[in-house]
């Protein structure tokens, strides 16, 4: 190592032992804290709002799916009743005293009333 290199190394070693320091450290801390508090504020609102939105979306999806299932079921039930009524009326004319037809009609009427009632309950509920 030449003399010059030795001197340069000495300068570097001296510089390694010295460190620049902030002129106003407290002001720097306050400024950083102000910035992170500004950053934190939207986050403070964002998380609950995001969670509420997700919960509301899931609830709406659940209601929608449940109603679709109920309506389909009620519609299917009504179609079956109508089809059965039509078929029965074609194959066996309804006469007073016909116990079998009366029994079927009452059963179907009861079932469709029950479906109608169920649908109304769900509708009023939501």
């Amino acid at each position: 190592m030449t003399n010059n290199e030795q001197l340069i190394d000495n300068i570097f070693k001296d510089l390694q032992n010295k460190h620049p320091r902030l002129s106003h450290p407290n002001e720097m801390i306050d400024s950083i804290m102000r910035k992170i508090e500004q950053e934190s504020q939207p986050t403070r609102w964002f998380v609950p709002v995001r969670n509420c939105s997700i919960a509301a979306a899931i609830l709406l999806l659940f209601i929608f799916t449940f109603q679709m299932i109920t309506v389909n079921y009620a519609t299917d039930g009504a179609s079956i009743i109508a089809y059965q009524n039509e078929t029965l009326s074609k194959t066996r004319p309804i006469k007073d005293g016909d116990l079998y037809i009366n029994y079927i009609q009452k059963k179907l009427y009861g079932k469709s009333s029950y479906e109608l009632l169920k649908k109304k309950i769900y509708e009023s509920k939501y």
Partner: protein, 186 residues
């Protein structure tokens, strides 16, 4: 700062404790400023970079874990990236005659007891790195001025050990020539 205490402060920061973060800033702001000043060669830019870096630390503190390495290395990495972004938009100005005078006054009689003022640091670093490329400047600053190990520089910059060593060698040669050119050839 003791490692256990540092871990406890980091945990509190992860829970959103701003007072714990205040302690962290108070402990490490000078360290960040030291690197930023040497890379940016401007006191006001360095202060802005440190602020930005600590805001990044706060936003990403949940990503830090002890398994990733030392907290100081992680902090250095953030400060380095912020400075690198700033350096892309702003070139370090060439040293002025007054910077050269400050530099020569310092090198002619370095006093180990006396701390340098920030303006002196800026002048000295400007003169030292004036002939270096930005990559050489970064490697030189981290290795020589911040006295970091090659392994730590690798983690901070993402450069390979071979690249770091060769850049450092070239940087030293250029600085030697620069000093000779300035008349520092005793």
């Amino acid at each position: 700062m003791e490692q256990r205490r540092l871990n406890s402060i980091i945990l509190k920061c992860k829970d959103g404790d701003t007072e714990a973060f205040r302690l962290l800033v108070s402990e490490y702001q000078n360290m960040g400023f030291s690197l930023a000043l040497k890379l940016l060669c401007s006191e006001s830019d360095a202060e802005d970079a440190v602020q930005e870096a600590f805001v990044n630390v706060w936003q990403n503190i949940n990503r830090y874990s002890e398994s990733k390495g030392k907290f100081t290395t992680w902090l250095y990495k953030i400060v380095y990236r912020v400075c690198l972004d700033r350096l892309k938009h702003k070139k370090i100005t060439s040293p002025l005659p007054i910077d050269q005078t400050v530099f020569l006054t310092y090198v002619s009689a370095p006093d180990p007891e006396q701390q340098l003022m920030n303006s002196q640091w800026v002048a000295i670093v400007k003169v030292l790195v004036s002939e270096l490329s930005s990559k050489q400047q970064i490697v030189f600053t981290l290795s020589v001025l911040e006295n970091m190990e090659t392994e730590e520089i690798e983690k901070i910059t993402g450069l390979s050990a071979d690249n770091i060593k060769s850049d450092l060698y070239v940087a030293r040669q250029k600085i030697k020539k620069q000093l000779t050119r300035l008349g520092y050839d005793k």
